[in-house]
């Protein structure tokens, strides 16, 4: 019985840790995956609207310089990130399930946003997987996404919760 409670407590604390807005990166030979999750006290529709209005992104998100194009399934967007403002990422919107899933990416990587409705609002998850056969050759040249992921998530949480509280 004692072990049972210990396991439950450990599971609970792991779950809480996983939703604390801290990014984690798992590196493998041919790919790298960065993930983060956070509880946002706002309806998923607000979070979804923020994530799918490209023109408005740079107003609230300090990690994005600009997004050009419509964030619609099958459309191409041009994204400039503060990680490398001189570079424009040409990405295709691959999947869109309103208020649930958004995926964009290119040949090298895939960014997945997942929203789950929860009692307190939304459980937001973001994952970016980059890789391929050539990945080991340039893996060291790609900066860590952790800090940028954490800032992105913090900005999203702040903006969505401000909107949710507005009258």
């Amino acid at each position: 019985m004692k072990y049972f409670f210990t396991i439950i407590m450990l599971m609970t604390s792991f779950a809480a840790m996983a939703q604390n807005g801290k990014a984690t990166t798992v590196k493998k030979t041919f790919n790298r995956t960065t993930t983060i999750s956070q509880v946002i006290n706002a309806d998923p529709s607000i979070v979804w609207a923020l994530l799918t209005n490209g023109a408005d992104f740079s107003r609230w998100n300090s990690t994005i310089v600009s997004i050009e194009g419509d964030i619609q399934k099958g459309e191409k967007i041009k994204l400039k990130s503060t990680l490398d403002p001189s570079r424009t990422f040409k990405l295709k919107v691959k999947e869109m399930v309103p208020d649930q899933t958004l995926i964009w990416g290119d040949a090298m990587g895939k960014r997945t946003y997942t929203l789950e409705k929860s009692d307190s609002g939304t459980l937001f998850k973001m994952e970016e997987k980059i890789g391929g056969f050539m990945f080991p050759l340039f893996a060291n040249k790609i900066p860590s996404f952790d800090e940028s992921f954490e800032q992105f998530t913090a900005d999203l949480k702040k903006e969505a919760e401000t909107i949710a509280k507005s009258n």
Binding site: D43, S45, I46, A49, D56, R59, T162, I163, A164, S166
Partner: protein, 266 residues
Amino acid sequence: MDAKAFTSEFEKVKPQLKSYILRMTASIQDTEDIVQDTWIKASSNLASFKGESSLKTWIFSIASNLAIDNLRRKKRWPENVTDICKEAAKNDMSHFQEAMKIIETSEYAKFEIKEHIAFCFLCIAKSLPLEQHLCLLLKEIHDFKVKELAQILQTTEALIKYHLYSARQKMIEVFDGRCALINKEGMCHQCSEINGIFNPKQNLQEELVKIKMTKEAGKADKERLLDLRMEVLKEINPYTSGAHELQLHHLEHNRRVMEEYLEKND
């Protein structure tokens, strides 16, 4: 509700409705059509009005959907609409001559700065995404509640809050970056320039201190300044204001210029 009672109620909300649709479409003709179609649609579907919302909300809901149908296929205006239209006006002598003729002949051409503040807002708000534009006008100018907006747009209150918040932030950003009335660094002085052309006898400084927004410009925060700007709009009905004939003439000009501009830059 019988047809007679409905007609009476419709006539009561019609001035507000026309003002709202004009500010959505920026077109006198489209406004006439949409208001007329709203009347036809509402009066022929009167039996479907169950009183779940107020009659005013129901009428505005029908009108909003007609306006959305009208505007969905049209491009939004750029943020610098007033710069583009000013340049076009400078090169269009007939527009200027017509304006001067209105000033000389109409009793509804008494230009005041506040008229241009409302006019400027109307044009720049057309750069907002459609839903944001609609929510901003209905909530801030026509006093609808978030819950009523959700009924009108048939969406959630959460999403209405998103549209409203985003619209406000965008308008704050645009005016803060442009408007010399609230920001000394602002590069747009159009209202002062126009005052000199269309009402040279009016003392600009005297007029400016009468406007709360300019009076509080140095000390109030940006949110408050936007609220004060929208208060100016609330006081002005674009169909009955002291300079409405002049302003509607300018509006028709800007709409034509924008249609040509958007077609050319497609």
